[in-house]
Symmetry: D3
Subunit: 313 residues, 6 copies
């Protein structure tokens, strides 16, 4: 069991030196259950950049997170061996495809069975991560976002941050029928922008649908549909309203509150999560640091989802 | 049909040069359905100024708005001929009455049948706009605001931003019995501050009433009461909570969320909107630019309300 | 009756000189009903400091508050003799216990029957205030906060801002069975962090419980349980979400909205409030000044709660 | 002698309640030597507003100023009877000429011999102040600014903030040949924009001239030219570089540093200053509050200039 | 002659709609003397991105620039036919080399004799611009920067923003012996980082050298060395201290003041400038907008340098 | 020799994970030449707190510092064995004297001969550091600051951040005749506030003196006076103008520029520095992070001063 994970806010001042996320040990071992991985890359954005600075900001914000969940009383660092794997060593910063290759290689080198919980970085990083994770069998996806991210070519490339789930589906890495896109909203460039989602069989739940049906109810029905299927959770912080998550590149008015975002993740408890990411945190736009703190809190909630299953098994 | 309205975010980088709101053609023609008009005037405010910078900020923020509504699938720029009419050429900046005369003249010169969608500016601009629009027959009003804006003299003038609907009612430009004031809240200077609203027959719905009855339900009942009556929609961004809309001059704690503001406007679909304004956006206070982006999104929602009727007719 | 309390926003520009909170008379008299007191002390914080600047910021923000409540039509400055007592004259800034002594002495010197409404300052100030107020008989407590604040020793002291209600209970100043802790959330340092609350008989209501049961319903049931028992209201602004109240030292994602915070206080109308505080406003982190404005608005709501009882008696 | 002027930073925490500038007594008496006066008016600006909030921000910043000048060892509050006269009670907020009338009336009512040191407000306020001060005989002027402010009509008025010294000269309130405009820079609207300055005999010193000749040398030569002539000092904070004074309405790149601004004022020691103003502080743009703190420090330096003469007499 | 260039701040409110830089006509004609060109690209940065937003921010800030230089009385818009050419239409956003190809093509299509004055964008854009401009004969360079930008491969590419002048020299586009690098400072990654500059014959002037020799003196000696040689001026805003130019990606403590930057450019008057750029303005980091305003002011100074020669010829 | 010190900005993205200052090895060894030590304590401030967050902010900013000085070509990490010693483990946060004891103990435990370079923290930390360093023999001091910090009791204590050099002199830890206080300015609470400095024989150089005599000239004369005497360098960032160093607690208008601060430190090259600190960096007020970056750059300059001597020996 991890001995040092989580801030012991009763013993140590939280403004003192914290080099890793949640104060976890630095470096993955063969028996690491969950590896927290920074992916400081934003070469795939179509509008405001800055997500390359996401991992450092989320690590810094994580010092405010402690050890035990206030509702479930889950203590993830006692249940899971967690480690901070550092940042992916990207070699090719100026070439989107080559950078994706660098990322895929890193994830391919993780110990078998280690669950990667990634801190982006823009949403294009989900492509190489899924190439590493979905290589053996396609996985289900819970995708929380303002946008479906199943667009086509833009700016001379298919692999930008508005397209990861189209690429992943086309490459057979994910199961469209078990892909749930939650929180979708915002004007469309044209009526076909997200048609790939609908036509491939993904379930698209708009923000209005979410609130009409109830956040927790939607989350629980997704969890029920998933059962034991291995599922990847991808959380784009622009799913959350730009007031709660100003630090992002493509803000859309009218999103989730932070509390609802936490409840949505929490409602997945019991799902067989084999990987997750929190992406599109762009610190240059993060007034007050709320987005980084939200991302760190979401990472903690995801760890509790994973730990809930461990405990149950 | 407008060919260039709305950002084609799939073809053009949104951070590149956008000279007009939504990238619309510059200048009104005789067959323009909707004219978007900047009114860079804040000479009527009683507290924090800055709304004169509203139009430029809303135009700049509008580059994030695309073309098709994600729920209704309305594409307003395909349904309506829209244009950016530029900013009202105000000649008398230092004299409230004379500036109102400049504004009224501009609106009086618009082609018959062109619907003005105005970007303020402070709420006093609604007085000259209604003088131009309500000249032939009084109109109904949907007024979303934290304040009733039916106050009396202040600082030596009757025509400041806290009084437009009293002036308009007294001048016979609006129908009090068909004036709906939604989102009202905040402490009063004295028990009589908004008594004109009650005594003239306006319907005052506090923020608490709105949430108790349901945002969409209230909006739909207003739309039902309006029927085909020509209606002016006036949206003061301080109706929205100051956390969602910090860029305003007279903030009141405890307002609408952005999502609820969008839903409220959306619930008016089908109303016979003959003009609208979004006022009190004060960029110097707009941390993160959320207020400007909200205002641009509200403008898009209002265009969809107008387009919904066009489509229905 | 206080003649000058509340801003007469119809007669005086609110950006002109306001030296006291709500423009109240400066200095407490023997017949003062409510004394507003600044406690510019943050020597008890465990993370981000800055709450020493709270009183000056809340006073400055209070110029936006007027005189009559928009729902209840209560005019607290007509019902109650209110005064700004200034800031507690702290003599020992660098010694937590001695500073608490300075504070206790000040509250002990208030006229009998004057209700103190305090503007913090960090939450440790509630210890000396309760020592002054609960001296004769233990009082009930309504405590709105993200944290239970019943922790043990930290950093060499028992009397920091994470422990006031444990200290107060242990010193017999409050009645645990009539202590209601509302809005609790956030990860815990260990499973025992708040066990004192549970074991001493306090009622702990998490943020999720609050929303599931309904804000107003919880508030009303608390008021019913209190009856006429003298009660102290302690509002830590970190109960509110950090997006609504960024100016605080220990932010927790996922809290109350401002509107819900107002409604929660309002639902206590009729309670026998013998003192109250609003603490942990830290202006250095208060982007846009929303936290100070919220605190001033909460102070107005608390005055209305007190006035409601006066009126009823 | 003033007993309470200046913060005794050794006895009182500066973040505790300070209701007046420099903690001075509130209200002018017949024997007041210097009255500090807020003029919360920005109805004369041509670009960014906000200077109406200047007085409150400068008062708040003044808590950082203590009592004795570190170079000259002058203690102005011991030499001069100073008072905070509050803010000018403006009655006509929406009419530039009428507001100027309100201001002139207030200055006309000051005790004979009391020197007004005004905190603006925009530069148009210098017109009514000079009307009150220069009524008996025209005065000399030291005018520190980026702009000559001798422009003609704009926006339908002659009396805006870009014209006070033209108006004052034309009304015979100032002596052009003893008017020194220091720090002038920035592009001109046309070659004639400041020709009135040159043609009326004013001395225009550009920022480049100031640095080539030396700040103190220029100041001393101005002081020498003035001798005992009564002189009005008008300091527009946009004379200072926008990096040092971001809180202003018409920023011009390339101005004075704060230190040079202080040295410039200081070099006037011995001048017969019969009035002064610090104008165009616009808090909504004042990142970090540096402009307000600079303005408070400049006010202290001006008090030392006045006290230096008192001491010498 | 351009009739509409420069803001007529005496006739038109500067906060009203300004679609082009300096209000210039939109679009280049065959007889355009100077084309102002936005290059919204930051795909070549090695640290903080955001310079893609530079052109829109500089255009917006340019509304504060008027028409006549306050020292030289040059009115560049009367001397030169200027136009806003809009933003370079980049087709390949995610491929550094291909994007450079898009940029080179655009510059190659400009009318012969039109001088491009470019608004970046990161410093890598100078590579394709020089490929277009230096194609016929190598040009001299005045390069103002904190860094020599003659580094080698980084992140898998030779063509990033730390290398343009090495690339340009190696491709024979510039004359190293007539390349002047001014303002150099900041720690080096290793002793060889800038050795290419020294070995190829460029003149490197550190910030300390600049101040010891005098800003204007250095500029004049450079101008003298250049004589009539065609020269390209490249101004990286990080040459200026990060306090004056916070909006940039690789800040170095201890740079030029804004005034000195203006004086440095101004001292080049008479040089045969055949092109210029102002790069590395990154608005997401531009607190207060000072960097954008500085860039617009620098663009005006460069226009005056060009106009000075026109006038002299 | 340290192998990993300094960012190799040519090999590694600077926004990727940097856990220690300058990327140095974590932990002091017996042969460590210089230990960089965080002291996250601000319990001694008299005005704005926040310096407890200084070490984490300076560490984060240090990623922008590379390896070789651009003027002297000194590569400190090649000359000196440097390490990040982490933050001082303070046990008694709420008791100024006890916290000073914790700090003194930590410094007392450093290997003999290891030079501590401390990152504060408020200026009171210099008291326990000097108690550890000056224990054997009193040391000379170069003290750069806006304030002399030789004040007496305040707020019930002698040991606050306005008094360290009086305490140190009284305890015989420093040599007053070899104590140089540089950059002094700002109003005084009373004429005696800094009299201890003058009377004990310290050399006080005001900011005006510094500029009149020349920054480098003063520095060199100090270095000459010191000769080989062991000297402690204490740099309070409020010596620098608040525009360059906004992130501090007691700002004084009119200070050093960043460049001059660097030159001042640099001019001490050759001094026998046996310890140094950079204090009063308060991140909550550090708009744009300039203060933290300045502090990291100053730390690099101090390392070069130490390395210069090592190289010379």
């Amino acid at each position: 069991m991890s001995e040092s994970g989580g801030a012991d806010s009763l013993k140590r001042a939280r403004f003192a030196h914290v080099p890793t996320i949640f104060g976890l040990p630095d470096g993955v071992r063969d028996d690491t259950d969950v590896a927290l991985i920074g992916v400081p890359f934003d070469g795939g954005v179509t509008h405001r950049p800055g997500a390359r600075h996401g991992p450092e900001a989320i690590r810094a914000a994580s010092k405010l997170i402690r050890r035990v969940h206030h509702r479930s009383r889950i203590a993830p660092f006692e249940v899971l061996r967690c480690a901070d794997a550092g940042d992916v060593p990207i070699e090719h910063w100026f070439d989107l495809s080559a950078a994706h290759g660098d990322i895929e290689r890193f994830y391919g080198s993780l110990p078998h069975g280690t669950i990667p919980l990634s801190l982006g970085g823009d949403h294009s990083i989900t492509i190489p991560i899924l190439r590493a994770l979905g290589r053996e069998r396609p996985v289900a996806v819970v995708h929380v976002d303002a946008h479906c991210d199943t667009s086509g070519e833009y700016g001379g490339s298919l692999f930008h941050h508005g397209a990861p789930f189209r690429i992943a589906a086309q490459e057979g890495l994910i199961v469209p029928e078990l892909t749930f896109q939650l929180g979708i909203r915002g004007s469309l460039a044209n009526a076909e922008q997200w048609s790939y989602s609908y036509e491939s069989g993904m379930t698209v739940v708009t923000i209005e649908d979410l609130y009409e049906r109830g956040i927790a109810a939607v989350g629980q029905s997704v969890a029920a549909a998933l059962g034991d299927t291995p599922v990847y959770v991808s959380f784009d912080v622009d799913a959350v309203d730009p007031v709660y998550a100003p630090g992002t590149g493509t803000p859309e008015i009218g999103g989730l509150t932070s509390l609802d975002a936490l409840i949505l993740i929490r409602s997945l408890a019991g799902a067989n999560c084999i990987g997750a990411d929190i992406v599109e945190v762009s610190p240059p736009f993060d007034l007050g640091g709320h987005t980084s703190l939200l991302a760190a809190t979401l990472a903690f909630e995801i760890l509790c989802v994973i730990a809930a299953r461990e405990r149950r098994l």
